[in-house]
Symmetry: C2
Subunit: 379 residues, 2 copies
């Protein structure tokens, strides 16, 4: 490997981390929305001494991305030399993770993988640092870490898990039911462009026609060919995220179910989820109904949530955040805390977070913080 600074020998060689040990990082999938966000976050980490090695598929190789005032050129992942990488952040999809993770771990690197590839592997920790940081090994002097994979959870799952963990710790969980309203940024750069193009095409004319009594939309929600989304996403709502699975769910819904159980270490917890895509640029929302092990007042729930790291809680009876206001913010915002009208042991809440930050890049970089022996930074 060339051009990305001094190598750190894992499992031998110089003690690591030192006060200013050089730490070589890498990002696989660097040109995507999440990859770019990872790069920006790494630029702010004091433990990141060297410019990260940027890797992507062949089509994106050659792309230059900014890092601390310099321009880093993205390399073809298939051709790059990864010897000496200590921590690699992956966000290039499950197939790329499956292909490249062994290459990195065999050379002693830790892979923080944002794909679904390893999340449910019993041997792989699934980590939200505010919940289960203890599962992350520290790359301590003399520990001789041989490398491995740590999985970064699904974006919607992270924010719901973080809103549930304090309630689980304080009151115990009996059931969790989730409906998500997810932003297009979670589907990548093309999806953002698609919402913009469809919105521009639709917008003023449609409102005028509707006000004139023309209820039927001319395109009936059918998108142009080669669209990212199966239906028009502009001014619409789609209960379809991820692949269709045999049980009638789409993959995102099943991810929320299984990943929540794993993160909360509650393998039998009843969880249901309906995941929807809405025409929001960035930041996911979730309406959550949680049945607790005992009767809990909204005030007591707010107190438990407010004391937990990583959460911003609006304890006022009707307070809430919206996606537009939390985009760019690393915290998980909890509001609309109220009792289920039918039972005292159930609460309803509204959970909003930036899916590119806490839902993906920030959570991964916080895991990297832990690996590097640093406390996870809140942004």
């Amino acid at each position: 490997m060339t051009g990305h600074g001094a190598a750190v020998t894992m499992g031998g060689g110089p003690a690591f981390p030192r006060a200013r040990a050089p730490m070589q990082t890498a990002i696989l999938g660097a040109t995507g929305l999440v990859g770019r966000t990872m790069l920006r976050l790494l630029a702010g980490r004091s433990w990141v001494d060297e410019p990260p090695l940027l890797l992507a598929g062949r089509r994106s190789a050659g792309t230059a991305l900014p890092f601390r005032g310099a321009a880093l050129v993205c390399r073809d992942a298939a051709a790059a030399e990864v010897e000496g990488v200590g921590i690699a952040l992956f966000s290039a999809g499950a197939a790329a993770s499956r292909q490249y993770a062994p290459t990195f771990t065999a050379r002693g690197a830790w892979v923080v993988d944002n794909s679904s590839c390893f999340r449910l592997d019993p041997a792989v920790p699934l980590v939200v640092p505010e919940i289960n940081a203890a599962l992350v090994p520290r790359l301590l002097p003399g520990q001789g870490a041989a490398g491995g994979v740590i999985a970064n959870p699904n974006c919607s799952t992270i924010q719901v898990a973080l809103a549930l963990a304090p309630l689980q710790a304080a009151f115990g969980l009996r059931e969790v039911h989730v409906t998500t309203l997810q932003a297009v940024s979670g589907a990548g750069r093309r999806a953002v462009a698609e919402l913009a193009a469809q919105s521009a095409a639709q917008r003023g004319d449609r409102a005028a026609a509707l006000l004139a009594g023309d209820l039927a939309e001319p395109d009936r929600g059918v998108p142009p060919a080669d669209s990212v989304f199966a239906r028009r996403i502009a001014f619409n709502a789609l209960p379809q995220i991820g692949d269709a699975l045999p049980d009638g769910s789409f993959a995102e819904e099943t991810k929320v179910v299984h990943e929540l159980r794993k993160i909360l270490d509650a393998p039998q917890l009843p969880v249901s989820c309906t995941a929807t895509r809405v025409p929001v640029w960035n930041a996911h929302s979730a309406a959550v109904r949680v049945v607790l092990a005992r009767s809990v007042s909204p005030a007591d729930a707010a107190a438990a949530l407010s004391a937990w790291p990583g959460l911003a809680v609006d304890p006022s009876p009707h307070g809430f955040a919206t996606p537009a206001e939390v985009s760019g913010d690393g915290l998980v915002h909890v509001g609309r805390l109220r009792r289920d009208p039918c039972r005292d042991d159930a609460l309803l809440l509204w959970v909003v977070a930036d899916n590119l930050l806490k839902g993906a890049a920030l959570n991964a970089v916080q895991i990297a913080d832990l690996l590097a022996g640093a406390a996870p930074a809140p942004r």
Copy 2:
């Protein structure tokens, strides 16, 4: 009363309805989105012989609206003479309903009220014709009806109730949990214009900035002064519909809870609801989780739903409708029918309907159909 055709005497005078008895109708709130839709639907009813009397607040009086090729001028409700009206459709808000309903019913008219004013009054039927048409009196010859109020349910409630009624009849209901994604048309004409204006202001620039890594939105979701919605609605999602109530809910959520129980004649049914506003022009969506009295397969549920009038069921494992495609359509569309992953007696479903049609104007006109002795038309 002048200029709206021959009067029909209720509770005396000529027998009514005759085969072609002249039926005088009226619309209060005729210039709103729902009022205009009511007028369009009445134009297609064979039992509507005379042009409806159009009424509105003083600001909207004088507005001309099309009816069967003619232009009807809207009158000031405070100054109009209503003697002789047989059926009046109200959609001008609860305060107007409270003010004007006695004026009409005292003169023998039936008021079909689309406001929340009378919905929970035990003496007032709350009607979705496909569920409880039997509660609507027929204006039969010699019956001498003295007039009265029939309430049209809340828009979200109608579509969820219609999706639940067949399941209740076939399998029994134990619990219902609803998350709505509601269109701006439900908030009126200004709301539609607001989404158009905000979308035009936001659109292309925001996508480009997001793709360049600028996650924080410049306006942080704060809308211009005098906006209909408390936060920016374009490219956003707001868990706030209706007034704030002491229990932490907003009014729309409590309407769904109480109106569902009344329509389904299940006063103890546990219901919870989170109602959200999304940047969709027209047609509401609802993610519904229903616990039944026994284990039910999605196929059996689809069969029960498909046999019910007023519903369009997609029985395929992953099939669903979206708001953009059902806008202008009078049916309630049910899809995403699947088992709760944790229990065999619970189902998840996705319910979409045009809130101006079945959620408001169409349901009201179908009630009027019943009053007039006609079978409710499906559109």
